[in-house]
Symmetry: C2
Subunit: 374 residues, 2 copies
């Protein structure tokens, strides 16, 4: 199965064997010992996404934590390429980043590359529209509770004086050969898209440039984004900066059960702006893998590992491990039928989205505390 999967920023396809992908990308699986190390340094708490293996792999994070223990603090870098309304899946890197900021008192750089999906020729996306979406995304990100004294958010087109010069420096060590297969590019791809990965690499060493001394960087990201930093790290090192460390997540499954929720397939995805009725309809159609009839389900039970509803609780809506276990057990035993199960999840999602939208309204009033521009 693994041999057929494609996992890069522009395409995720096939049944993903996450362990095999980690091996292919050269990242290390996060084992229990490593989790406990993070927990210890985070003051005894561990984010449920790490506990549950949603963040399941890392590169150089052991080194980063060694440095942290020596008193060499790290900063965090993550981002989102605006392409349409934000989905729940988009929030995963920001959730962990916010938690890490709090636990490790870390500064955060958030890049909003408003050119990326335009260069990838996403249908109907103008640069102006991407700009507008960027500010909407920024408001949603701020709403998640980042510390305004320690968080900088920037759009590539608005921060290009800072970014381009450093992108030039890092691009000098990256050939077209090095990126072609990794991104699935051909000679018919446009040269802006070919260059773009250099822009995404910059925030991974930008604080070192700014401070005039090396600062470790940790990048929480979904595994499909790993390629950017896998490719840039040697070039970053040649410039004399630390290679960035990273922590990789799996994808929030689509409601249909496909491995990755896609922002472009609207029925398969929960948008932050979906109204209650829309959420209800989408969840109602979600894949659970339950038996064809209530009788059979009560008799044989279901499989929470393939049940989208269970997975949504696991990824997002039930941070309490004990309660999650109850939900999984009920699914497995057949005592929880799809209708009730979906009704509960719908209520949870709608509550979450309502709160997120309220926080976003407030965030709109403090945007200037976060946005940086040249």
């Amino acid at each position: 199965m693994e041999r057929d999967s494609v996992v890069n920023p522009y395409e995720v396809k096939g049944n993903i064997d996450y362990e095999a992908v980690a091996k292919r990308f050269g990242v290390n699986l996060i084992d229990e010992k490593f989790k406990e190390r993070i927990r210890g340094l985070a003051g005894g708490d561990l984010h449920f996404m790490i506990r549950r293996g949603i963040y399941y792999a890392q590169r150089d994070m052991g080194w980063l934590l060694d440095e942290y223990e020596k008193g060499n603090k790290f900063y965090l870098y993550t981002g989102i390429a605006p392409s349409g309304a934000m989905t729940l899946g988009h929030l995963i890197p920001f959730q962990l980043t916010r938690w890490l900021q709090e636990k490790f008192d870390a500064e955060v750089y958030i890049q909003i590359p408003d050119e990326e999906k335009f260069l990838a020729k996403k249908k109907g996306l103008t640069l102006e529209k991407a700009h507008e979406l960027s500010y909407d995304d920024a408001a949603n990100i701020i709403a998640m509770g980042f510390d305004k004294r320690k968080t900088k958010i920037f759009l590539d087109t608005e921060y290009a004086k800072t970014l381009y010069k450093n992108a030039v420096r890092v691009s000098r060590g990256i050939t077209f050969s090095m990126i072609k297969d990794a991104f699935g590019f051909t000679n018919e791809d446009n040269i802006g898209r070919i260059f773009y990965t250099s822009m995404q690499a910059v925030p991974a060493f930008l604080m070192s440039v700014e401070k005039g001394k090396n600062v470790p960087c940790l990048i929480p990201l979904a595994i499909d984004q790993d390629v950017h930093f896998r490719i840039a790290r040697d070039s970053i090192a040649k410039l004399g900066y630390y290679k960035p460390a990273s922590i990789q997540s799996k994808f929030l499954p689509a409601l249909s059960g496909k491995p990755k929720m896609s922002a472009s397939e609207s029925s398969d995805t929960i948008y932050l702006e979906d109204d209650e009725e829309t959420v209800r309809k989408k969840v109602y159609k979600a894949f659970t893998g339950q038996q064809p009839t209530a009788e059979l389900q009560r008799e044989h039970g279901g499989n929470p590992d393939i049940c989208t509803v269970c997975q949504y609780y696991r990824f997002f809506f039930e941070p309490d491990d004990k309660k999650l276990k109850d939900i999984f057990d009920a699914e497995r035993s057949g005592s929880l039928l799809a209708g009730e199960h979906k009704k509960d999840l719908t209520a949870r999602i709608n509550k979450y989205l309502k709160e997120q939208r309220e926080k976003k309204e407030k965030a709109l009033r403090v945007m200037d505390d976060f946005m940086v521009r040249d």
Copy 2:
């Protein structure tokens, strides 16, 4: 011969048949009728570089002059990629641009792409060194007499907020296939270098972006730079802007008689900073193609078309056509021997360089009137 010549921004090689290159690049030769049209619109004057066919070809300049006659004024765009000390050859586009500014009351954009030669991995050139050279180049350019009210000079790394966004837009219509052979690139070239042509394309439509309406643009440039605009023009048009017009020059020959003076072969080149003795030595060794002895030269004469000394008068140091004819005739008849010929040219060059350096000193004090930054 033509089939062996290479003429692109990164390599000029072989015996250049300029007419064949014009045909290959799809530019039109400038004939006498076209010269007279320029002269008429310029108020009866015609720059000696156009008169003598040093600027020998153009693309869309007829259209540009049509627009000018309708009252639709054009702006000028040229530039220089800093790679080392400036040479006489570097001044050719600026000489014509300055003259066109005066005669057509045109605004001028001058791009100094301080990343270009760094991305091309010119030996020993850091981005910091390129930055320093850029300001030296800017001073030399200002010294040539540009109108401070109508001239903007910018470095790519300092103007990237303005340039990058537009480079992204134009790059979207340029594939690697389109540029690969034209620039002599391979998959082993770095992605910054591959993207760079987009940055060079931007000033060709930037004024239209800024004014929110189309403004014709004329680019004086050496023929090796033509490829940038040949490739970008369709993408520029797709964005809704006028395709840029251009006027192409031949290369100032090297002192050895090679077709192009190269900034990287120091003995073959006159730098603006060369002192009197250095100029004397370089000119003394210059190729004239004269007969092996004074007697033979007096008897058979020489060929001014291959004589570097004659060509330096033609390209630069004798704007008066009558006087130039006298020099050429003397070379042809054998009455002018190499020693005297070179002594005269040395004096002319040293006088020119001394004045240029004096004007450059003054230019250093008015840099801020010309430089624009984000």
